[in-house]
Amino acid sequence: MTIDIFLQQLVNGLTLGAFYGLIALGYTMVYGIIGMINFAHGDIYMVGAFISLIGFLLFSALGVASVPVAILLVLVVAMVFTAVYGWAVERIAYRPLRGSQRLAPLISAIGMSIVLQNFVQLTQGARVKPLPPMVQGGYRFTLGTDAHLNVSLLQALIVFLTVALMAGFTYIIRRTPLGRAQRATEQDATMAALLGVNVNRTISITFIIGASLAAVAGLMATLYYGVIDFFIGFVAGIKAFTAAVLGGIGSLPGAMLGGLVIGMIESFWPVYFDLAYRDVAVFGVLVLVLIFRPSGLLGRPEIEKV
């Protein structure tokens, strides 16, 4: 492989990794705080994509001509509305089951996933929805006589936005009272409550943050692929979940790293091997990690329970 192809796939992998990382954060945060896999999270991402699409159409109908302004507005709208969905899913389907056996919320989550898919299918139709390209242009770097590296403006935007969000988000978790309350709830919910932490509210906020990060991924997907449908949450959700497990479920840096690894596998696999086996490769890596490092790349082993 020549250096230009390598760099090109690196850029593409980074972009994909940003998607998966953003969605994976939602899985890992919810797992950390209430110990369940929120299987409806992929569909929250899909809802975010649809709200973004509707937002773009709405703002262009309202005469917002500037693309950066439109993206900024849609970003805010998508994060807010998707957060409401994330909050509602927890409130309706998970909170009443808290304290019951582990299987109950899991089934409830699968139910919620089906509800969201069918809801969007019914209200938006089953057909693929296109969005005309909004962010065009990019940078072309010359690496040699015949070697070039193309970085589209959109790719740069996606990576920049993701890095900024992850940095801000890491700051919140590490340094603010909200982040401390969240980690305290994760480590010992009863003790957190004794200290005055409203545990229910903290869990709600976790779902809200996870859903708004998924909304950003949904917005990016809408712009990047230009087409969405009610089923995109399924595959993206499973891959992001794989990323979270790969990085070590419950670990925030792990989710980001896992997303990056999955993105890179997806982007480099077709260079060497048959494209048709790309998803097999992604899940194959998951199997290997689970066999040789069950707690994931950055997760902590289960034994360290104090």
Partner: protein, 243 residues
Amino acid sequence: MLKVRGLHSGYGRIEALHGVDVDVEAGEIMTVVGANGAGKTTLLMTVCGHPRAWSGEVLFEGRDITGLPMFEIGRLGIAHVPEGRHIFPRMTVLENLQMGGYAVDPRHFDADLQRVLAYFPQLGNRLSQRGGTLSGGEQQMLAIGRALISRPRMLLLDEPSLGLAPLVVRQLFDIIADINRDERMTVFLIEQNAFQALRLAHRACIMVNGRITTRGTGAELLADPAVQAAYLEGAAPSAEEAP
């Protein structure tokens, strides 16, 4: 300051407290001693709303707090040092202390941190260490420090001596006496280590199978032959300290 009246509570359908009455007066150290499984922890936890009281009432500073959610009780000026310390294991010592101040004005934090470190200077060198890596004694100090950060008016201590070496226990109980004296802190202390607890307490009572059976001053119970036989047998560390 704290009045518990006819309190019943338990787990599932099993009742663990069968009508408990306890008063804790402002400024005193009140202790409940009793064997393992008597219901001491259940009493302290029910005061804090977890488990919920089945019947009876809990009044704090004249206010009925029975049935309030745990986090609201935690904001009233009651600080709980639970059995087993419950340090947040993957947060640093400083973060654990910050959690102690979660529900109060953060502007007081630096002053209160200095106040706590004056009682527990050992914690000062370990502020950036993870809570889970501290020794048992240090964790107990951290748990008490975390409770003090919020400037509570009442401190609930559930078996602070659990699993600690006798020397550490004595050191800890001296500090509890200091806190009570210097800050006029009301202390509600639960202990299995009856000898140390009764020596410290102004007033005390004994709990057996979810009921209070005996009440008196700490000195009275320490001298009571029945109490000695049941709770102090072999507990008094040496002859010079036994009555």
